[in-house]
Subunit: 391 residues, 2 copies
DNA sequence: CCAGAAGATGAATCGTTTA
DNA sequence: ATAAACGATTCATCTTCTG
């Protein structure tokens, strides 16, 4: 892992890693930390070159003084210079600048995640809409162990908000691993509120004095959920505010490429060491389960051709009330109100139900060995026989 | 309850209610629905006259077409004219207008709650900051039963966001019933993420055809938590987008005054009838919060929030000799030797027995269907209802 | 009358491929 | 480009129906 210094953003050689096969032109800006101003460094990247963006920008916290716990110990709050802005206008100008820079380097189907708190997320979200990003979800990170409100004057600030957005309105082809997420969630689709502990313990980077190295280090589990949701192995994930390098470390572990931008050389060095120590997961641990959407299309006529369905066989609905006959050309014949209709399994299914549309694969059934199966079962069998796998 | 028509915003007499003692000048604009444009009606109200604001403005949804469920039924989405705006700029102008109008009528110590989704909440929040409101928290309403994502293209949109803000930076004296909230929450301070079901069933107002009267009616439990958090009995709560009247109904039940603005006469009429039917809770259920020492130790308030126990209901011991009344904040009120005491179910149980300690869950009983059950039965039922996935 | 099945529904920015 | 065809996709809760 190489750290690239200001003024030479794409000169340093990349880490060798045989598992990352890629074309030489793009390799140059992969798996690097670029040190310098975020907006300048973004300008050095080629347009439409990244698949996903994760951004954890300064929150513009406006703390009025120091905060003490009930036991009089001092809370080590974020009071770094990089988190201070003169005004909302200054913060907006900064935000607009990096968002524009990021948008340029996103591929058309790329998506962006931005995390923030109530101090900044409303401004960020409004600017994202103004710049033409298309919000897909706002996702709430519910902290399992948030810092309490010591003064008892507000609710425990127990969550942060992530905005997930496509580069442009109308984008349909963005990566979203719906089946995989659902499979890992008791077979129920994942909601917009996620529960994770904050980053503590061994995962939290410490400096030589044992103090936390970075004030806002995010938990790896959060970043892993983000990347497993909206990217795939081999993708390039850009983080314009790399900080302690959580996103890059997770990207490497999940076999994504990363590009990190960080202006603090100390943070960048710590992140580089952290990333270097990461061992990518075995590929088998990251393969996507076959999803119906990605499976190759099989025409009903292919089932007839293959002999899995014989012309003349009767199809019924699940209850056996509606009947149709398979024809040799892969269409089916339906007698409905004494009228004979011929067409695709989908069209005839819709006709039988009086519906606009119908998935014939799940509507029609065949009787085999005394039991009724949806014809989708036969399609699955044909796919298996063909040795076809998704990807 | 009177509905005031356009052009005569403060003429109609108020509902008589001896429990609301107030000065005559302010009374004129209390407990009314003002029909007409939100910004115009706000201008008719006196400056610095309301204690809390709850606003549920149009979300500016930008739906592209109709959506159907997997069973091909049609989703009855929000497509009303009042939710349509030409552009973000038009929405921003509208938002700025009503926020300015609201700010003028807020007392210096008043706070405002605004609810929205990712479609609008970022714009609203940024404008609130621009106008000088001081955000205290963003609170996430996690929906126990959200509508699923039917296409599998995004995360289930399972929450909405509320922004809670003071009128100005530096305000210290805003109402926040910290002890009461903590006492009703296992003696742990309440977090910024709240779990409530959406509004369905008998609570949902229906039109003469049995269809939902208003597309976006909010659950009363959510409004009750808001008002119990940030107002006190006798306060004036303003809702500039009254809709079906949830905020006003809850205000009346919790013995707050309300002012509602609604431009649709049909909604206003339905809200007026709804409010008229509300019976305010016994004062004993709403009195000043108990001190920290008296705070309940368990989440009895969760039973109250869930509706399994209704404020005002009587609790007794197993034999029916000792009696106490459930309060809206999850404490109970006990009359013992002509002395009124308020506190947790455990403390009041101990007091009633003259004991050091008491398990209120087994001591106190409720009568349901002619039989007395320990409230522990209700707790078990609530736990079962919350299920395994409630995190 | 009760139990279980079946239907209804909620603030939603909710396709892809081939002709 | 536009239209047609293909075919993928839902969770919790409440109400109504059926046996």
């Amino acid at each position: 892992m190489s750290v690239v210094r200001k003024g030479a953003p794409h000169r340093a050689p990349r880490l060798s890693d045989e598992t990352f096969a890629a074309d030489a032109a793009r390799e140059e800006v992969r798996d690097r930390i670029l040190i310098g101003d975020c907006i300048e460094q973004l300008a050095s990247l080629p347009a439409q070159s990244v698949d996903m963006v994760f951004a954890d920008p300064p929150y513009n916290l406006q703390l009025q003084g120091e905060l003490r716990r009930p036991d009089d110990s001092r809370v080590d709050a974020v009071d770094d210079a990089w988190d201070q802005f003169e005004s909302f206008a200054a913060y907006d100008a900064f935000t607009r600048g990096w968002l524009e820079g990021v948008k340029r380097v996103m591929k058309p189907n790329a998506t962006i995640w931005v995390i923030g708190s109530y101090h900044n997320i409303f401004r960020v979200g409004a600017l994202m809409q103004d710049l033409g990003f298309w919000i897909l979800n706002d996702v709430v990170w519910r902290k399992a162990n948030p810092m309490p409100n010591f003064r008892g004057r507000r609710f425990t600030n127990a969550h942060e908000t992530m905005i997930w957005a496509a580069r442009d309105p109308g984008v349909k082809g963005y990566q979203f691993n719906y089946e995989m997420l659902k499979g890992g969630n008791e077979d129920v689709q994942v909601r917009s509120d996620w529960l994770f502990p904050i980053c503590t313990g061994a995962e939290r980077l410490k400096d030589e004095d044992g103090r936390k190295l970075h004030p806002t280090q995010k938990p790896e589990a959060l970043l892993a959920r983000v990347m497993l949701s909206a990217s795939k192995p081999g993708d390039v994930v850009l983080d314009p505010f790399l900080g302690s390098g959580t996103s890059a470390a997770v990207a490497k572990r999940l076999r994504r490429h990363f590009i990190g931008i960080e202006r603090d050389e100390g943070y960048a060095a710590a992140a580089a060491a952290r990333i270097e120590a990461v061992e990518p997961l075995p590929e088998i641990a990251l393969q996507a389960p076959p999803s119906a959407r990605e499976a190759p299309r099989v025409a009903f006529s292919a089932l007839v051709d293959s002999g899995l369905v014989t012309p003349g066989v009767e199809l019924t609905d699940a209850k056996g009330n509606v009947r149709a006959v398979v024809r040799a050309d892969g269409t089916i014949a339906l007698v409905n109100n004494a009228t004979l209709s011929v067409g695709s399994i989908h069209r005839m299914g819709a006709l039988a139900q009086g519906a606009e549309a119908c998935n014939g694969w799940t509507f029609w059934h065949v009787e085999q060995e005394g039991r009724r199966h949806p014809i989708d079962v036969l399609r699955a069998r044909l796919r298996a026989e063909m040795g076809v796998r998704s990807e």
